[in-house]
Amino acid sequence: MESLKAGAQVIEGNTAAVIAAALARVQVIAAYPITPSSPIVESLSDLCAQGKLQARFIPVESEHSAMAACIGAAMTGCRTFTATSSQGLALMHELLHWSAGSRLPIVLVNVNRALAPPWTIFCDQSDAFSQRDTGWMQIYCETAQEVLDSVLQAYRISEEVLLPCMVNMDGFYLSHTAEPVEVPDPKEVDCFLPGFEPRFHLDAADPHAFGGGTAPAPYMEFRHQMQEAMEEAKDRIVRVGEEFGRQFGRSYGLLELYRAENASLLVVTSGSITGTAREAVDGLRDQGLAVGLLRVRFLRPFPAEEVRRAVSSAETLLVLDRAVSYGQGGTLAQEFKAALYGQDRLQIFSIVMGLGGAPVTRQMIEETTLMALERTLDPCRSHWLGGTI
C-alpha cells in the first residue's frame, strides 16, 4: 500500500490544474469559461486579479479568441495556458491547427465533456479524440494527481519539441472529484521546469514573421517536420517522465501496464475509466483469469512501438472507448488495430461505453471481458454497452 503523504491536499482535478499552471509560472492565460472546466478559468482569473499569480489573464469572448490570444502570446515567447471543454474545444478547432503549425508550445487543459446535441454537460472523450489530427500532443489522465504532474511535464516536452500539448481529464469524474493530491514544492518545480527560453519569438528589435504564405514544396517540408517532432516527442516524453519520477517520486510514460505479466487478454483504457477497470482486472485475476490492463496515456504521439511490445504475449485486446467515430466505431480501437496490423494472432474487440456520462461500472467491464475471453463478441464491429441501448 502506498503511504499517505503529509504534504497532500484533498482537491478536485480542476484545482490540480490551477495549481499546476501556477507552479509552471505561466505568463499569459487566455480563456473562456465552459462547464465543467469553468472553475479552472475562474480561479486563474481570481489569482491574477489578486496579484497572487504574476500572469496576464486575457478575458475573451469565445474559445476561438482564447486560442488566438494564446497564439499571439506564445509567439512573443511567453509560457501560455488555457483550459476548455467540449463545444469550446470544437470552436477552437481551426486555431488548434494554427497553433500546432506555428510550432507553439501552448498547454491546454481540456476537461472532457460530450458534444451536443442533445445538450449535455457530462463526460466523454469525443471532444478531444476529434482533435486527434491537429498536431497537438494529447495526454489522458487517470487521477487529479496525474493532471497536476502532467501539466508540468507537458511544458517541458512541448518546449523541447515545439508542439502544443493538450492535457485531458474526464469531466466530473476528475474535474469535480476531490481526492488526495501531493502538491510539489515550487522551488523543486522551478528546478524541473525552468523559465521558457524560446529559440524563435516575435521581437520588434529583431523582426521575424510567423505563418506566412508558402509554396507547395516547403509546405510539405513544414508538415514533415511536424511529423518528425511527434516522433521525437516519444523519446522526450519517456525521459521527462522518468526525470519527473526521480525528482518527485511518480514516474510516467507513454502508456502504463497493470498486471499485464502473462496476460492473455489486456483491457485497454484511457482516462478515468482506468481506475474502475483496475478493480475489474483484480476481480478477474482473483478468479484465476490471465487478464491485465494497458492504459494509453498519450494518444498523440501514438506509442505504436511500445504497444506492439506490450501486447507481444497477449491473444486478445478489449479496447474500451469513451468516444466514437460514427460510421467506423471506437476511436481508440481503430488506433490499436492500425498499430497492430499484421499481428494476426491478436483478436481486437471494440467496446463503446460511457458516452455522455453513461455510468461505467466494474461489473460491466468484468462481464464484457468474460465475453471477450470466450470470443463471443464480434471482432468486425464495435459493441455498444450501457445507457438505454
Binding site: 499517505l4 466530473f172 472529484t177 476531490a178 481526492e179 488526495p180 461500472t361
Partner: protein, 196 residues
C-alpha cells in the same frame, strides 16, 4: 471501504460538507474521494454528494450504489422514495431534526442520530432564517455518532472550504457534537463494509 452519502437542498452546503469530511478523514489517515451528484444545482432543489474512504488508495470512480452512512441535511427529504436506497444497516443515519431519533419512524434496529442543526445555525447566524447553512453542524453530529473523525480534524479540514464565519462554524461543529441524540450507543468500532 466506507461509503457515505449526503442529501441536502441546494444552499445548505451538502457538497461542501462532503469535501470537508473527505479532507478530515484524510487527516485521520484514510484515502478519500468526494464528488457531488453531477449536474446543475439549484437553490432548494434536492442535491446529493458522495464520499468514499478507505485504508488503501481508491481507484473505482462513478456513483455509489450503496451507503454505509447517510447524512440528511433536510428532514423533508425523507419523503423522497429512494432516499435510503442502498443503506447498509451497520452505519448511521444522521438527520437535521429537532425530534428524538425514535420518533422518526425508522425500523428500531437502524442507527439514527438527530441534531437540531437549523436551530444551531440560526443561533450562530449561519445562513439566513429561510436558508440556514447546516453543513458544519451535521458534520459535528456525524463525528459524535460514527467515531470515524474527530472534531479537531473537522476544524482543521474546514479551512479552505469555509472562508466566512470560520469561528461560528467551529462552534456549530462542537455544539452539534455535544447535542446530537443517538438512538443506540456508539459501537466500540464501526467495521468497514464490503466494497460496493
Amino acid at each position: 471501504m466506507w461509503e457515505i452519502r449526503f442529501h441536502g437542498r441546494g444552499g445548505q452546503g451538502a457538497v461542501i460538507a462532503s469535501k470537508i469530511l473527505a479532507s478530515a478523514l484524510f487527516r485521520e489517515g484514510l484515502y478519500t474521494q468526494a464528488f457531488p451528484s453531477f449536474g446543475a444545482e439549484r437553490r432548494g432543489a434536492p442535491v446529493a454528494a458522495f464520499l468514499r474512504a478507505d485504508r488503501a488508495p481508491i481507484r473505482v470512480r462513478g456513483e455509489m450504489a450503496g451507503a454505509d452512512h447517510l447524512l440528511i441535511l433536510d428532514v423533508s427529504l425523507l419523503a423522497l422514495p429512494d432516499l435510503l436506497k442502498g443503506y447498509r444497516e451497520s452505519g448511521w443515519i444522521i438527520i437535521n431534526s429537532p425530534c428524538a431519533p425514535l420518533d422518526l419512524g425508522f425500523p428500531l434496529h437502524y442507527r439514527v442520530a438527530t441534531v437540531d442543526a437549523d436551530r444551531i445555525a440560526w443561533g450562530l447566524e449561519l445562513g439566513s432564517r429561510a436558508f440556514p447553512i447546516v453543513n458544519t453542524a451535521i458534520l459535528g453530529a456525524f463525528a459524535r455518532a460514527s467515531g470515524l473523525v474527530s472534531v479537531e480534524c473537522l476544524n482543521d479540514a474546514m479551512n479552505p472550504f469555509i472562508s466566512v464565519k470560520p469561528e461560528r462554524n467551529r462552534k456549530a461543529i462542537r455544539q452539534a457534537y455535544e447535542e446530537a441524540n443517538l438512538s443506540a450507543p456508539r459501537p466500540f468500532e464501526v467495521e468497514p463494509c464490503a466494497q460496493g
